[in-house]
Amino acid sequence: MKARDLLHLATESLARARMRSLMMLIAMAIGVASVVVLTSLGEGARRYVTGEFRALGTDLLIVLPGRSETTGIQPGMFAGETPRDLTLGDAKALLRLPDVERIAPLVIGSAPVSAGVLSREVPVIGTNSDFMPIRNLRIAQGDFLPPGELDRDMAVCVIGSKVRTELFPRGDALGQAVRVGERRFRIIGILGDSGRAIGFDLQELVLVPVSAAQQLFNTESLFRILVQARDRDAMRRVQAAVRATLMQRHQGEEDVTVITQDAVLATFDKIFTALTLTLAGIASISLAVAGILIMNVMLVAVSQRTAEVGLLKAIGARQGQITAIFLAEAILLSVAGAAVGLMLGYAASWVVGRIYPSLPVGAPVWAVLMAVGIAVASGVVFGLLPARRAARLDPVAALSGRK
């Protein structure tokens, strides 16, 4: 039997049992589509998060108080010791290290910001002038925080564009005064929309000098210190030097965590890849269900077509040919279902992409291949049993309509 004839026989019998074929096709299509959609969401989330981190630069070290990567018990724990805070003094010490290009200490909080009668609660970040190059911020209007000593308290601030439009719906904000918490600040710059600050919408931020923020939130400690190395090659040296310096400053206690941007990136990448895999696994269940449905329907088809199988045998069909005919139907269905499912899945992903433009949705190639592979494989596996059952029918019994 020629492949073309086999295909013709299979399509013809599928076309005749239209309703049945359609149901199986839909089942398979839903399975494939759900793999495509769910993995594109997972992959979208992964790309979004790693993209955010990558935009921060990979020559960045992040110093945070406390030891989070401890394995085992530290001596300090028995004394009930709490980790020391990071201070501005620490930040200054780090700036003096060789190969350190820039330092940005961070104090983060939330405070009511008001101008005239308009007021709203916004995230406030206290930092210094180096924050701008480190985070690739752009200034739309005016200037960023001026360079200078870290502990110099100046009553100036830079605001996000949304804060600007909300507090100054009419007229110019630059040079105007705003009240942040209990203090008055003069607006010296307005942020552009580009650049990144993880977890914050740049358009809704107010940036003030770090020592002003410390007073505002009544704290000595820093939330983070961002350290930018001169280049990527210096990362390891700088990391070691930062650790040593802070240990020395903290009475020999290693009570800070120094992480590289790369490590964070890798961790998130791992987490989100696992998430995508999980989603793919869940979606695959529907593929397996579709496969079992195909098997069921094919078994029914075989018992409905017993007489036909008997006839095929009488006119000289070999067992292998009968297997091939039924198997071709199952495979054809699952391939068609996979094709429809891919279209549906991509269409749905596209719609999601339009609704959430910031999410870079897109099913990973491996997931698409896997979905199609599983669909076709389930066609083969679940089609094989009914096909072999058909092939093994006793022709005499089959012709007389018995099974």
């Binding site: 004839d5 013809e12 007489a307 036909e308 006839l311 000289g316 070999r318 067992q319 012709l399």
Partner: protein, 245 residues
């Protein structure tokens, strides 16, 4: 193949040679002897009727001859080849090339047109499609079905359906035609039509075996086999066996 060459030589003249063939079925506790030590030989080109009451084994005989059923014991030589030890695929190939079946209930594939039904044995045998078309067209003319070529079975009359089935049975140019109650589901006129078509094929040299309940149908054959309880009880000839092709 598995038999000694002498056995095949001895029966060279016969198209079909059954010797001491039995076919037993186990039905519950009981052993049913559908064929009980039957020895029969049929010559190429003969026209034979097989009669007998229900359960006499005539259908089993036809199934064994058609290689759809295997004898429990005995040997069956078809066209000089011992079929006893053949595997499934070999038997399928023999059916494809040597045997044409005609059934009481036609057994056409309902979703296929007359053309496709007739073509089906050649599709299975990988005959090129141009050759298939040529052969089907010719058979359609022979059986006066040309204007029904693209009708499906449910659009055909009983007589037309059986003629499509005959066309399908002969399309591979077999040497044996096995007809199981070919007129059983037909009225008198279409029945006569179908018999004429079968007899025309017999006149071209095909061995025609007809299982029937109908004395009138049986009377048209030249040799008459009557069965009872799995045994041949009457085997008589009413006309000379050879008909010039």
């Amino acid at each position: 193949m598995a038999s000694p060459p002498s056995a095949a030589d001895r029966h060279q003249a016969q198209m079909i040679d059954l010797s001491a063939v039995s076919r037993h079925f186990q039905v519950g506790e009981q052993l049913v002897k559908a064929l009980d030590d039957v020895s029969l030989a049929f010559d190429a080109g003969d026209y034979v009727s097989i009669m007998g009451p229900s359960g006499s084994g005539k259908s089993t005989l036809l199934n064994v001859i058609g290689l759809l059923d295997r004898p429990t014991s005995g040997s069956y030589v078809l066209d000089g080849r011992d079929t006893t030890g053949m595997g499934d695929d070999e038997l399928a190939a023999m059916r494809s090339r040597k045997i044409g079946f005609i059934f009481q209930s036609f057994h056409l594939v309902p979703r296929m047109t007359a053309f496709e039904n007739i073509e089906l044995p050649m599709v299975l045998a990988s005959v090129p499609s141009a050759e298939r078309r040529r052969r089907v067209d010719k058979v359609l003319v022979d059986l006066n079905l040309t204007d029904r070529a693209h009708h499906r079975p449910d659009q055909l009359s009983g007589g037309q359906r059986q003629r499509v089935a005959i066309a399908r049975a002969m399309i591979m140019e077999p040497t044996v035609l096995l007809a199981d109650e070919p007129t059983g589901n037909l009225d008198h006129v279409s029945g006569a039509d179908v018999l004429k078509s079968l007899e025309a094929l017999n006149a071209r040299g095909l061995l025609l075996l007809v299982v029937t309940h109908d004395d009138e149908v049986a009377a048209r054959a030249r040799r008459h086999v009557r069965m009872r309880d799995g045994k041949v009880v009457i085997d008589q000839r009413t006309a000379p066996e050879a008909v010039p092709p």
